[in-house]
Symmetry: C2
Subunit: 218 residues, 2 copies
Amino acid sequence: MRNLYHEKLSELAEQLGRLCGLAGSEMERATRALLRADMSSAEQVINDHDRMVALCARAEESAVTLLALQQPVAGELRSIVSWIQITSDLDRMDALAVHVAKIARLRHPDHVLPIEIEGLFTEIGRVAVKLANRAQEVVLTPTPDKAACLREQDDEMDELHRRLFSVLLDPHWQGGIESAIDVTLCGRYYERFCDHAVSVARRVIYLVTGERVESVEA
Amino acid sequence: MRNLYHEKLSELAEQLGRLCGLAGSEMERATRALLRADMSSAEQVINDHDRMVALCARAEESAVTLLALQQPVAGELRSIVSWIQITSDLDRMDALAVHVAKIARLRHPDHVLPIEIEGLFTEIGRVAVKLANRAQEVVLTPTPDKAACLREQDDEMDELHRRLFSVLLDPHWQGGIESAIDVTLCGRYYERFCDHAVSVARRVIYLVTGERVESVEA
């Protein structure tokens, strides 16, 4: 019974690791849609959403089944609850990629981003995907040194986000109000995507090492 | 043992009902801070945050303890997992009220909102608080008829959000880019606050009646 339990637990970690990777790929695709006004990438992210929701729900069910399989002791119980919460983070990460894709679709064939801000969003997209991949690594092989690395990358995203606002508020901003709204919302979606990726990793590291990694957002 | 279980379950519902009410009060206070550039309201919301986080964590612990108390059968297990997820919604609702309060604090002594948009945010704030209170009622006394009522109020919020964008995009908008960014972010915070309130109610109604209330956001 214990062996079955540990086997199921490691299957669950693999399931969630795959979902981190998928959320990262969807955000990569959404970024492509945004940067290139690429309708087919946007459509793909939006169409994939139902599948991602189903996969997250299936992962959640696996975790609940683990709870039902046997009465886990205190630490294990807490751990399974954390895995359940991670499925919610992953579900949200995909929803945020969908939001980015929907803005790209809404403005198509126009580009959402004025040319002067494309480089910044290339960076923002790169960091977001990197964080999703880092979360995947943590889920699959959790080690304490990865916590510091995650914090650094999240700081990188905060810095990019600050630069975004300084571009928007620069008197030379030519994009007008509609574009400023789109850019503000996209910035917020990427920021939240990263918060969730960090949250996934934070929960896993805490489970494995007992080291509490500080929350990323008030 | 079963009696103890049901007693603890109803204590948990009361705990979460109180938290819905508190989240509503914090958003009411944050709205006051926003509409009146009222620094002391803003500070109070921000300072209360740690307490709200602790209360949500305590509610989560109560739910986990319920899991540990006895091996619940399938339906009950699912139900406790939902209660755990509700604590995350409540935690986020308070974080979103804090975001609104922080924008008010950042711009103080200036007003965040241009005068022409104050009436709209009065409405948005009212609907947000109403939804939190409705979620509280559902948590404390869940009945199926409340699902339809929640959907209506969420539609009301969507309509207000649409009006917000049409004001921002009106050629007569005088607020400039900085104000448009603030208004866009505040709009998003209220919208997400309402999504979480609806999500709380949706989960409870599903638990009690088996009626799946559609998700509010892709």
